[in-house]
């Protein structure tokens, strides 16, 4: 059955692909015979085939379009390299804030650590008790009443008398 298209081309729908193959020289000998037998009896297909054959001549008058210049491949490679550079810069840019934060943290930690160490060293020196003095001081000096002071009660008076006698 022939089909009418918007532009007035007519051909049998089930022969269109075969006619295209015929134009392309893609049919086997037996397929070509079948196609030829069909359009001998089908004026619509015969007309469509003639029209299609004319289109081949018409469309080939211009030939293929001009290709790229000889420098095209080099230009492409340069663009690839530049894109790769941009890509790695972009990747570095993505991590940059984190790296900066890391450096800041490290610097702060170092300063704090230094301050702690120096403070610790300085404080230690002042706070350490004078062990030698403590060791030489007699026990009685620690627990006994201060000799410069006058005894305040009876117990202290007795303690003072006992010490005086003991010393004798």
């Amino acid at each position: 059955m022939a089909t009418d298209t918007e532009f007035g081309n007519t051909a049998c729908t089930n022969y269109e692909a075969m006619l295209e193959d015929y134009l392309d020289g893609a049919l086997t000998a037996s397929e070509a015979r079948t196609a030829e037998q069909h359009w001998q009896s089908c004026a619509a297909c015969r007309g469509a085939l003639q029209q299609a054959a004319s289109s081949v001549r018409l469309l080939r008058v211009a030939g293929p379009s001009d290709g790229p210049g000889s420098a095209f491949a080099r230009t492409v490679m340069a663009r690839i390299r530049s894109a790769q550079g941009d890509l790695s810069a972009e990747r570095a840019g993505f991590w940059q804030p984190l790296v900066r934060l890391g450096w800041r943290f490290a610097a702060t930690a170092t300063i704090v650590l230094g301050a702690l160490v120096s403070y610790d060293a300085g404080w230690g020196r002042h706070a350490q008790p004078n062990v030698t003095t403590a060791r030489l001081m007699p026990v009685s000096d620690i627990f006994g009443p201060d000799p410069a002071k006058a005894p305040a009660n009876r117990d202290e008076v007795l303690m003072m008398v006992a010490e005086t006698n003991h010393a004798k």
């Binding site: 269109e16 295209e20 299609a52 469309l59 008058v61 491949a73 080099r74 230009t75």
Partner: protein, 227 residues
Amino acid sequence: MEDVPKSMVASAPALTLPLDRKGKKEEDRELVRLSQNGTETAFEELVRRHQQRVFALVGGILRRPEDVEDVAQQVFLKAYLGIKRFDQRAAFSTWLYKIAVNECWDYLRKKKVRPLVYEADLSEEQVSRLDGIVSADRPPESSSARAESRQILERMLAALPEQDRQLLVLKEMEGFSVQELAEILNLNVNTVKVRLFRARGRIMDVYRRRMNPASKSADSHSAQRKG
């Protein structure tokens, strides 16, 4: 980095269509493997081999010569960035051409432009010149005459639906096979054949109308009567 075998490096910068397609495909596979391992010269060789057809494909879809080079460069850049993911189940050319087609659609969508449409009609002089060329059945020799014929043809092709135009340009002007077109455009092979055949009838109809304006006005009168 591995070196590209000297036998694979094209001596001429422009690509010539391969006589031995199978051998060329095998070489492409090897070049792809080398590129996947980071050999830049192997990829550069792939660019040299396929640049002509990528240009033809992009030009066939965009019809804006000033944009073709930029889009073609973008196609190869995308191919380079994605080549490690390419598993070589399909031919490199098919994979590359699909990237090219997608890149063209992206480009047209981003720019919010339709492929260029020639509004102006053809002058009588142009029509008779084209008729002379078609009758002679051989392409014009000078590049300027070829460019002019192409321009006239493009104007006629603009009257067709976009897909018809693309199929005809890629098949008849740029030399893509039906099989290639089916793979690139994700269509069934039979669908491509049928669409191509119908598109041929349509372009000849446009041509006849241009050659014989009387038929054009008769058509419009009959259309008015139908309306």
